[in-house]
Symmetry: C2
Subunit: 371 residues, 2 copies
Amino acid sequence: MREWRGGAEKAGGGDGKDGLMANGAAAVRGGGSGGRRARATLRDVAEAAGTSRSTASRALGGHGYVADHIKERVEAAAERLGYVPDVSARTLKGRSSGLVGVLVSDLRNQFYAELAAGVEHALSAAGYQMVLVDDHADEERAAAGARAFLAMRADGVLLTPVARGATETLVGHGVPVTELDRRSGVRGCDAVAIDNERGARLAVEHLIGLGHRDVGIVVDEVQWDTGRNRLKGYRSALRDAGLPVPRRHVLDLSQGEGDQAAQLAAFLDGNPALTAVFAANNVMAELVWQELKRRGSAVPEGCSVVSFDDLAWMKMVEPGLSAVRQPVFDLGGRAAELLLDRVGRDGAGRAESVVLQPELVLRGSTAPPKN
Amino acid sequence: MREWRGGAEKAGGGDGKDGLMANGAAAVRGGGSGGRRARATLRDVAEAAGTSRSTASRALGGHGYVADHIKERVEAAAERLGYVPDVSARTLKGRSSGLVGVLVSDLRNQFYAELAAGVEHALSAAGYQMVLVDDHADEERAAAGARAFLAMRADGVLLTPVARGATETLVGHGVPVTELDRRSGVRGCDAVAIDNERGARLAVEHLIGLGHRDVGIVVDEVQWDTGRNRLKGYRSALRDAGLPVPRRHVLDLSQGEGDQAAQLAAFLDGNPALTAVFAANNVMAELVWQELKRRGSAVPEGCSVVSFDDLAWMKMVEPGLSAVRQPVFDLGGRAAELLLDRVGRDGAGRAESVVLQPELVLRGSTAPPKN
DNA sequence: TTCTCACATGGGATCGATGCCACACCGACG
DNA sequence: CGTCGGTGTGGCATCGATCCCATGTGAGAA
């Protein structure tokens, strides 16, 4: 549990002039509008309290011996001057910044937003601040983010890896890293992920159980283990049920730069036998949903649909979309805790891996095939 | 345009040992696993290059006179040692941290996530990092966040104000602040917001134009000017059309701590004459949508619905939900740019206000009343 | 009375980068 | 030959907080 020391600073609601302006000594005003003040330093506080910086530091920090009356004087002075300790100086000396870097692939995607929210929740509970960078799944941006985290002496970094580079840089410099959702394969970092293969199996086995024999999959992140493992789960579920796994039932949208909707339409046209589609993430689910709606296919009568990743809209639509729910917020929180554990141990200890289990949420979008 | 200097650090894909380990002098290893290295400092680089810290600084920083061959030697040494300049030290000396604090009310709400994404986009384009704090609309947390931003010498702060406290603290310490989406009323800070009143008018006038005379509103943020102004727009649209604005057509969910769905149900039961409902934000829209679905009301035949704030799910549902679209991502971006302008001018200049215009997106959830 | 020890306080070095200033070259010009 | 201006280079103070250590108190013990 970290602590940001500094005056308690009552949440002064009403009167405009609180303690901030009461001081005359260090107050400095710049040009006309937008008043600028020199920040009060520990030295100012010490002088105002009539003592030395060392003593003032001890008084505010609570270490070592300080006479009670002096302590009170110092605290009063700090409050009066609006003193806020300078993290840069503290970091420079003490080698801990209180910052944790977080690198995600697309903040506009609700999945990553929720992940970030979970991380932030855990970090702020422990007194850390989150520096959030969106790399837009771009390797170069991710590397730049990693360098920035290094430069700011981040105490640790959480990231959804795009490539090996960022993790390698950080681990190479001794910064504790926890990978989220995906794994780059770099050794020496913790990881928290979902059991993607099992989640996909759950979804596909459910479809098979309903009697589907021709199940398609729409996937787009096979460059990462998330997509790969979901594809794997899909395949093995079919195989274990003794069903064929024809290549043409797999639509991989990671490659083609063209219009995804058009590719999906062609895929559906080319596979008229499909009675169910498994969308391997929320973006694919949206795509599939829109396309089926566009062509007027009845769900689930004409085609059952299951999504991997359960977003808010999936319970709003009619019929509700069956989905593999991932504990996304928790995933972020667990990862942050894992990271902070390691930070607390000063980076020591074996790299840990946590795998969280997804859960199949059944709604109206899945039913036995018609024929 | 800020710049994070430091070795170019090629995206070394293959071989495990890149330049990082090549150096013998400063390399230090901790306990068994999880190798730890002392960070290379400018001093290390200077020594490795056989020159002084000053010269090394000039060579890397590109200021002042440095002989070409020395400059090359220093750059090579920096690269070899994996040197990354220490932001804390630089901040301490140069008084600019490269950090911008961002305070939002609920990262799990897509609105705020998108806002944060827009901010991040603009900030990272300008070479700044975003420190993101979620205050959960809690005044105390917001104040704590503001203090943390102060402590880390954030160059500026963007926030969706919960109360006056946070903005007051920051402005009082001379930190440039731009308020997002809402305004606390504190003087001395920029603001970027949506024209909420006009947005609400657009929605309600549309309903009136369709022939609705009994339009309800469900609102929950009247403690902030967003909710208040939407309510105002709703009222004035009705009034201008010569329609009555009975109190019982307004459901304010900001107060009651009880079950919102139950309150909404009671509201609808108590107002059987309502032919349309205006949901004043995306959370209310979800609530209304679910409740209407639960009670089997046909939309738009039984009841038209318009939302303020257009989320992804609103185009997925059937019928699509008509909504007042806010340029949320842009709002964040504009605010960040406004803030950085001020940061560049060292806080000088009059406080600016930007108001962005929303736009009504018509889908299937609105139609003339049946009677 | 002197010594010890718990308590209290201030001096000053330190963290790493920066940038001013003094100094040391060099060729050229008076 | 002395001086001047254009180039390079290194010494050193600085930013603010921290913390080790030296110094200084008073009370109680020997």
